[in-house]
């Protein structure tokens, strides 16, 4: 088999952080090549370098012997590299026909004929094997259909044996059955000679479909080998490093049984099939899982930001069949969303207004005193160590870490009994992180229960008393403090990837 796309010694740093370190991978004609790695291992960065989004610091790439210039999406496209981004790049409001033409072109140049476009669209859709109405808006399609549509668009101009199709986590939001349909399509494309490379988390399926896998760890390519004879267990060892032999988990009973603050019972919605969890007073509960495991939905469902399909939540002894954020807030449950810019901050507003949003009001009823509010805000900024005296400063001028601390201060001041935090340190530098953890630790010591949803295993291991690992929409594992201490991030990463405890002596409940 011929090498089509060859990457040699690709290195890419972001500041002091080396995202890719001398990575060499080749993609061969008619082969399906999986690129694997835990979060932050550099796999998406690698694809983005090839696609021309990032310019590597060093390294070479060539397509069928022709050198690929870095940083040029056009050149990559010209050389036959097709790229499907994680979000698929579809416009939901537009029709299938229009989406097929996005980024490429319509059949007609001067005159777009509905009939001709429709015929062509049907032809393309047939190629990828989906049966949808070409005039339907894309938002009506299922997730699988959307993914297939993105493939159809990438392959719109036909394909040859020199083409490479690269997919960045195309399976993240698909269920196992849906993944299979997509993989069949990829298989059939590869049989026709296309080289396929894709990033995925799904070990079982990857082993099934891929001819070869390359495993990235901390920016280095630690293996690039055939899948023949490769077991899931070995694959995990490659992904996580150091094979795990320690016995962990002594299953120590909690000393006292503290009060239950929040309980989810059989919560179901979207990719989350069933979530049961109990949060105790002063407990820090972590939620981990792959993209698509339901992890992303947990926080929004718990605070009622999105409606769930079935199940219930118990707050303060009251059972709720549905919730809205104003009700959860009334019950002293706070929400710190991952997306600060659009979901937690009032970007053009002052520090003061951002800080007091959850509990506006000063001593006197009927008169909101700005002077009191300023004094109070300064006090709270101090408590979370935001070194800024001017409370009238627009919050958008602060660093990400300081912004997050203001949001946390908002809820501490409000007197939250439960805080649900989604990726609390995303985009926050190291110093900012430790300050956030300090504030959270203070809150937890005061009895506040914390739920931290995170993709950062190190974060979960270092701050949580207990971590629930989600897999395929269910809680697959409940790792307690002892297990986390004994096994570190390796244990957690393993559990996240496979959904089962692998070492001996595990005493989880499942």
């Amino acid at each position: 088999m011929n090498d089509v796309l060859k990457l040699e010694g690709v290195t890419k740093s972001f500041g002091a952080y080396k995202a890719l370190d001398d990575v060499s991978v080749d993609f061969r004609q008619g082969e399906v090549h999986g690129i694997l790695g835990v979060n932050g291992s550099g796999k998406s960065t690698l694809l983005k370098c090839v696609a021309g989004y990032y310019v590597p610091d060093s390294g070479k790439a060539s397509v069928s012997g022709i050198e690929l210039p870095w940083g040029s999406p056009e050149a990559a496209a010209k050389l036959g590299i097709r790229f499907i981004h994680q979000d698929l790049g579809l416009v939901g409001e537009m029709s299938v026909i229009d989406n097929l033409a996005l980024g490429t072109r319509y059949e007609g140049r001067a005159w777009v004929s509905d009939r001709r476009e429709r015929r062509r669209a049907l032809q393309l859709l047939q190629q990828v094997g989906i049966d949808v109405d070409p005039s339907a808006p894309v938002w009506r399609l299922t997730k699988t259909e959307k993914t297939m549509l993105a493939v159809a668009r990438a392959m719109r101009n036909g394909f040859s044996e020199k083409d490479v199709l690269l997919l960045d986590e195309p399976t993240a939001s698909l269920s196992s059955g849906e993944v299979r349909v997509l993989f069949e399509l990829l298989r059939s494309l590869s049989r026709r000679g296309v080289a396929i490379g894709f990033v995925s988390h799904r070990l079982r399926e990857v082993l099934e479909i891929c001819d070869r896998v390359s495993v990235l760890r901390n920016g280095r390519c630690v293996a690039s080998r055939s899948t023949e004879g490769l077991s899931e267990r070995e694959l995990i060892d490659l992904l996580v490093g150091a094979p795990l032999s320690e016995v962990y988990g002594s299953n120590s009973e909690p000393v006292a049984s503290p009060r239950v603050l929040l309980e989810a019972r059989g919560l179901r919605g979207g990719a989350l099939h069933e979530l049961d969890l109990t949060l105790h007073e002063g407990e820090v509960l972590g939620i981990a899982g792959l993209d698509g495991s339901g992890r992303e939905l947990v926080s929004r469902l718990l605070v009622g930001a999105d409606a769930w399909e079935s199940g219930s939540i118990v707050l303060n002894g009251k059972t709720f069949e549905r919730l809205h954020p104003d009700i959860t807030v009334q019950n002293k449950v706070a929400y710190v969303p991952a997306d600060r810019k659009s979901q937690s901050l009032l970007p053009g507003f002052s520090l003061r207004e951002n800080l007091t949003l959850a509990k506006i009001g000063t001593r006197r009823k009927g008169w909101l005193s700005l002077r009191d509010e300023r004094r109070d805000s300064a006090h709270w900024l101090d408590r979370v160590h935001v070194d800024q005296r001017n409370v009238e400063l627009p919050i958008s001028l602060l660093s990400g870490g300081n912004q997050q601390r203001v949001v946390i201060a908002r809820w501490l001041r409000f007197g939250a009994r439960v805080m649900v935090l989604d990726e609390p340190t995303q985009g926050v530098d190291v110093a900012g992180r430790s300050a956030i953890y300090d504030s959270l630790a203070d809150a937890s010591r005061a009895g506040t229960g914390l739920i931290i949803v995170s993709t950062d295993s190190e974060e979960l291991v270092s701050v949580c008393d207990r971590v629930l690992v989600l897999f395929d929409g269910r809680v697959a594992l409940d790792l307690d403090r002892d297990a986390l201490l004994a096994g570190g991030t390796a244990v957690l990463d393993r559990a996240i990837l496979s959904g089962v405890p692998e070492a001996e002596g595990v005493t989880g409940e499942y």
């Binding site: 937690s344 009032l346 949003l357 959850a358 506006i360 001017n390 908002r410």
Partner: protein, 319 residues
Amino acid sequence: MRWGAEKLELHRFSGLYILGLFILIFALWIPDTFLHVSTLRNIVTSQSITGVLAVGLVCAMAAGAFDLSFAQAAGTGSILAAILTTSFHMNVVLTVVIVIAYGAVVGLVNSLLVNWIGLSSIVTTLGTSSVLLAIDEKLTNENYIAGIPRSFVTAINGTILGIPEVFVIMVAVVLLGWYLLVHTPQGRRMYATGHASEAARLAGVRTSRSILYGFLASGLAAGVAGVMLLAVVGTGDPTAGPSYLLPVFAALFLGSTQVHPGRFNVWGTVIGIFLLGVGVQGLQLAGYSEQWISDLFNGVALLLATGFAVRNGTLSLRR
């Protein structure tokens, strides 16, 4: 400790300096006619209705409720008042109460359509505005309603201690609007809703309630303005309402460059109203009294003020 700048900073109160400049120019240009008590009274009276409507609109727009129906709501309100006082011979108090209640109903309907059905506020108020115009035209057959009782006109368009009564009403409405928006928690929640609706919702703010209060304020103000309109004009004019739409919006956006730049605010809007009022009145006294000159002045003033504010980054109205 120094808190944000609360002093008379140039850019936050530039409107006041320009207002002073206008007065100076007209005082030098046409001293005999401009420097007269009647001029002041004219400006104050003519801008009072605009002012009341603008305060209502500030509340709605603060909550992100884009209200295009307030002007026609005021116009139809004045027709309603005209009919109540002439055909039904109602007394002043009852008329005022009914027309203000009518304004509240307009606000309620707008907010129901936006909150329950989920229509955009622009589409909603465009629709209700047209419905209100239809009611106005049906009630009047597009004719003026004459014979408004003297008692009604003097009760509303009189003076208190030499101060025009409509101006007193405006001052009261302005103070109320400022209090509600700046010195109550609900006012802050309205601003949060208008600024970042999803973030406000996730912080526990009931955003639909903010929108309800915004439309309610705007509707109530339209009711009050309707009563004032009838008393000031003296006849029921079926076409009077829509002429307030542009000046009020102009004052609102001008106001958003003032006092608290980037935010629709009551005091900035008041500055905007009197800036436009003095300019137009001065030009009229100087002999430029055609309608097109006032409209041109309003339009150019709005574009200049917001244009400058957007350019130097104190305001973002782009999109």
